[in-house]
Amino acid sequence: LRRRLAVVAAVAGTATATWLYLRHQKEQERRSRRLRELRALALGQGDFQLSDTSGTPRRKADFLGRWVLLYFGFTHCPDVCPEQLERLSGAVRLLERDPALPPLQPLFVTVDPERDDAAALARYLRDFHPRLLGLTGTPEQVRAAAAAFRVYVSAGPRDADGDYVVDHSVLTFLLDPDGMFRDCYGSARTAEELARSVRGHMESYR
C-alpha cells in the first residue's frame, strides 16, 4: 500500500510540477509579447528630431541601450533650470560612482530654440556635467518634442532689450534602454532622491 501511495504521490507531484511549469512559461510568453508591443509603441511615443551641440541630428532611437534622464529648460532661465540641472547632474554623479549600474545619459532639451543654439547650449551645460548633452532645433522641432513629452511651454513678452523668459513645466523624465517612460520627476526632488529612484528602476528593469 505504501508503495502504491508513493507512486501516486510521485505522479501527482510530477503532474503538478509540469502544470506549474507550463503555466509559468505561458506567463513569460505573454509578458514578452506585451513587452515587445510596448517597445514598438515606445519608439513612436515621446520621440524627437533635434540636433545636439555638435550639430549632429538626434532622435530618441539614438539613445536606445542607455537609460536617459531628460530635462526641458532654457539658458536664460533665472533660477529653476540651474537648480534642476544641479540636481540632475548630482544624481548622475552619484549613480556613476557605482560601476555595477548601467550607463545613464543626461539630456537637456531647450524650450527656447531662438536663443539657445548649439554654442549657447554647450557654454551653458558644461558648468553642470561633462556628459550632459544639449539638444536644440527649429522652433517646430522643439515644439514637437515638448508636445511629445506633454511639456507646457510659453514664451513671455519681450522687454525693450528683446529679453524674455519662457514659462515651462519643470520636469525630468526617465527613459529606459528601450526608450520607454519609466518615471517623471518634479521640481522638489533632491539629487539623492533622484538617484535613489533611478537606481530602483534600473534594478527592477526587465
Partner: protein, 82 residues
C-alpha cells in the same frame, strides 16, 4: 535671435547674491523698500531686467504663501485678485 548671451554661472551667482542681500534687508525692515534702496540698485544692476521682474514676483508669491500658512485662506480677499 536676441543679442544678449545668457548669464554665465558667475553672473548668475552674483545676481542671486545681490537678490538675497536685498531680500534679507527687506526681511529685517518689514519689507520697507525705502530702507533698502542701495541694495535694490545693486540687485538691479547685477541681474537682467527680466530676472528682476521674475524675482519680484517670486518674492510676492513667497510672502503670499507665508501669509496663507500663518493666517489661513480668505476667499473673499482672493476673489478681488485677477
Amino acid at each position: 535671435a536676441a543679442g544678449m548671451a545668457a548669464p554665465t554661472m558667475e553672473e548668475r551667482k552674483a545676481c542671486w547674491g545681490a537678490r538675497d542681500e536685498f531680500w534679507q534687508c527687506l526681511d529685517s525692515h518689514g519689507d520697507d523698500a525705502a530702507k533698502c534702496e542701495k541694495l535694490r540698485r545693486a540687485f538691479e544692476s547685477r541681474c537682467p531686467q527680466q530676472w528682476v521682474k521674475h524675482f519680484d514676483k517670486r518674492r510676492d508669491f513667497l510672502k503670499y504663501k507665508k501669509k496663507l500658512e500663518t493666517e489661513g485662506f480668505h476667499p473673499s480677499e482672493a476673489a478681488g485678485k485677477s
